[in-house]
């Protein structure tokens, strides 16, 4: 069989400058990048709070279960967009987190199994409802799993005479909400994540904070999955924060680095997708994971290669010297 090379030769002119060659093409590229960056920013910011407290897989669960919320919202209102969908998704996220905690607290089922049970069940119910009662709509489970960035870019709305993709508008709003919530409730989020018992003693309502975080996360997921799909949302929730976590010891810096890593993944990912003629969201995730691998190997403090080098040279003063390590 005569097939083109699996990996086409890379050409700077075509693959890097090509997407910006004419105003129309450039506008398309710009909005694709903007949408992907916004996905990376809003998911990444929330992802930071998930991975520092070991909740990454609850994020995974929520990214699947929002489907049920969307379908139920559709059955109630007949709409697949707008407020109804956001509210439906937000509530589902909170319900998911509550159910997981409920199952694991009130039975002998461990938390990991509880997560697995809740997310597969709710997702399955969502798919069944979608197939039996809400069929023939512009949404299918495919879209939830994969996203449909190309389609999302065509679905535009005019703002001040400029055609802007709807999902970019929605993502801008959600990112703004996420960023301001983090700014306003930073101390509550911080204490609840670090030491929930202290938060409870201080009267900071760690459970409320946690469910609020889950609700926000669902908003971010539902706004993002049209563009990148549920499973790749998970990647943007975990990969950039994990990269940042290996590079810094401060939460504020970690949030900042997450944004940087996310935006780089989006920009490079769009070009890689163009080069390979493959799905943009997938390429973005691959770049994000590539960045993580770099941090994993070369992070100044926690990198694997750096650690090996340090052990090899043995001339670094070990940190433990200045510490009185107790028995």
């Amino acid at each position: 069989m005569n097939m083109p090379p699996l990996i086409p030769p890379f050409d700077f002119q075509t693959h890097v400058l090509g997407p910006w060659s004419s105003p129309e093409i450039a506008a398309g590229t710009f909005w694709t990048m903007a949408t992907c960056s916004l996905v990376a920013i809003c998911c990444g910011l929330l992802g930071c709070f998930l991975i520092v407290q070991g909740l990454a897989l609850i994020g995974d669960a929520i990214s699947h279960t929002v489907l049920l919320g969307i379908v139920v919202a559709f059955l109630l209102t007949g709409q697949f967009s707008g407020m109804a969908m956001l509210i439906g998704a937000g509530l589902t996220g909170i319900v998911t987190a509550l159910l997981i905690e409920f199952i694991h607290r009130s039975s002998r089922i461990k938390q990991d199994a509880a997560i697995g049970i809740v997310f597969t069940s709710l997702f399955a119910l969502g798919v069944i409802l979608l197939n039996t009662m809400a069929s023939h709509q512009h949404i299918d489970a495919d879209c939830v799993l994969f996203g449909d960035l190309e389609f999302a870019m065509f679905d535009t709305t005019k703002i001040f005479g400029v055609a802007i993709p709807r999902s970019a508008v929605q993502l801008t709003l959600v990112t703004a909400v996420v960023a301001s919530v983090i700014a306003l409730f930073y101390k509550e989020l911080l204490v609840s994540a670090f030491d929930p018992q202290l938060a409870a003693v201080l009267g900071l309502k760690p459970r409320l904070v946690r469910y609020g975080l889950m609700g926000l996360l669902s908003l971010a997921v539902v706004s993002s999955f049209q563009a990148v799909g549920a499973i790749l949302v998970v990647a943007m929730m975990i990969a950039p924060p994990a990269t940042a976590y290996l590079l810094t010891d401060r939460l504020p810096k970690m949030l900042l680095l997450t944004v940087v890593a996310g935006v780089i993944s989006a920009i490079v990912g769009v070009h890689v997708a163009f080069w390979l003629n493959a799905a943009t969201a997938g390429a973005m995730v691959c770049v994000a994971c590539g960045l993580f691998t770099l941090a994993f190997l070369f992070s100044p403090r926690h990198g694997l290669a750096v650690g090996a080098l340090r052990r090899f040279r043995r001339d670094d003063p070990p940190l433990a010297d200045e510490l009185s390590v107790s028995a």
């Binding site: 101390k187 204490v191 670090f194 202290l198 003693v201 009267g203 510490l323 009185s324």
Partner: protein
């Protein structure tokens, strides 16, 4: 029904105290009545009655699984009670968040969390700050003072995983100090810390006590009980004995607490029999 030490303290669940330490009208910092807490329908704490007086350091001593941590968590309102009441300064804790300063076991938090020593101590002030308010000059001052008191000022900007066990414990103490509470609950503050830190901590607890604060400390090392504490609570699911160390910390009571199998008895325990 109230468990008493072999010495037979007079009042129900109250230690024999010098009269001077009894504040006339002030409500007790901590008063627990017939507290029963169960996990999975089995009682972990059973009919606990306890009155703690202001300005005392109380050691909570008992075998593993005796319910010591459960007691502290119940006092902090983190557990559902099967029965009983707990009053802090005469009122339920719910009406006065932040009334308890809390030093958890070191393992209870993730020391890889991306925060610095200063950030952790600052958390102690969050309870009084209120929504949307950010820590300001006053909070930074409290934070600085608390760090000074535990001699950790020079480590303020270090990430918390780069600390020794003793230093981590001091950070928790500083955070509790920053809470500026009247009642402190500490879960094994001496576990896994070096001797210097241990001495520094007990010194600090004494200065705090002398300013009228009340401190409840879960403790494992029977040898140092007599030196460190004013009162001791011997706990094994129920209160075996409670009162001033001199009266209560006896070989007989320790046997009753730890079962007949207590091998090593502390030298300082009173009433050799």
């Amino acid at each position: 029904m109230i468990p008493q030490g072999e010495q037979g303290s007079a009042d129900e669940g109250r230690p024999n105290l010098p009269d001077s330490s009894l504040g006339a009208d002030r409500p007790l910092p901590l008063s627990v009545r017939s507290l029963t807490v169960s996990y999975d329908r089995k009682a972990v704490l059973w009919n606990v009655d306890l009155d703690v007086f202001a300005g005392r350091i109380v050691g909570v001593v008992g075998p593993n699984g005796a319910g010591k941590t459960t007691l502290i968590k119940a006092i902090m309102g983190l557990l559902p009670l099967q029965s009983g009441t707990i009053l802090i300064n005469g009122k339920p804790l719910k009406k006065q968040p932040g009334a308890i300063g809390y030093v958890p076991q070191r393992e209870s938090v993730d020391w890889d969390f991306p925060v610095t020593v200063h950030d952790v101590v600052m958390m102690g002030t969050y309870g009084t700050l209120g929504l949307f308010r950010r820590p300001g000059r006053k909070q930074r001052e409290i934070c600085r003072r608390s760090l000074d008191q535990v001699h950790m000022s020079s480590y303020a900007h270090r990430q918390i995983s780069n600390l020794s066990g003793g230093q981590q414990q001091r950070v928790f103490l500083a955070r509790a100090l920053a809470q500026e509470a009247d009642l402190y609950l500490m879960d094994e503050p001496f576990a896994g810390v070096d001797a210097a830190t241990e001495a520094a901590i007990i010194e600090l607890l004494r200065t705090q006590r002398d300013t009228g604060r009340t401190i409840l400390v879960i403790h494992h090392d029977l040898q140092s009980v007599a030196d460190y504490f004013d009162d001791v609570l011997l706990l094994n699911r129920h209160v075996v004995a409670y009162g001033p160390v001199g009266d209560v910390f006896t070989v007989e009571n320790l046997r009753t607490t730890y079962g007949g199998k207590l091998a090593v008895l502390p030298e300082h325990a009173n009433g050799e029999t």
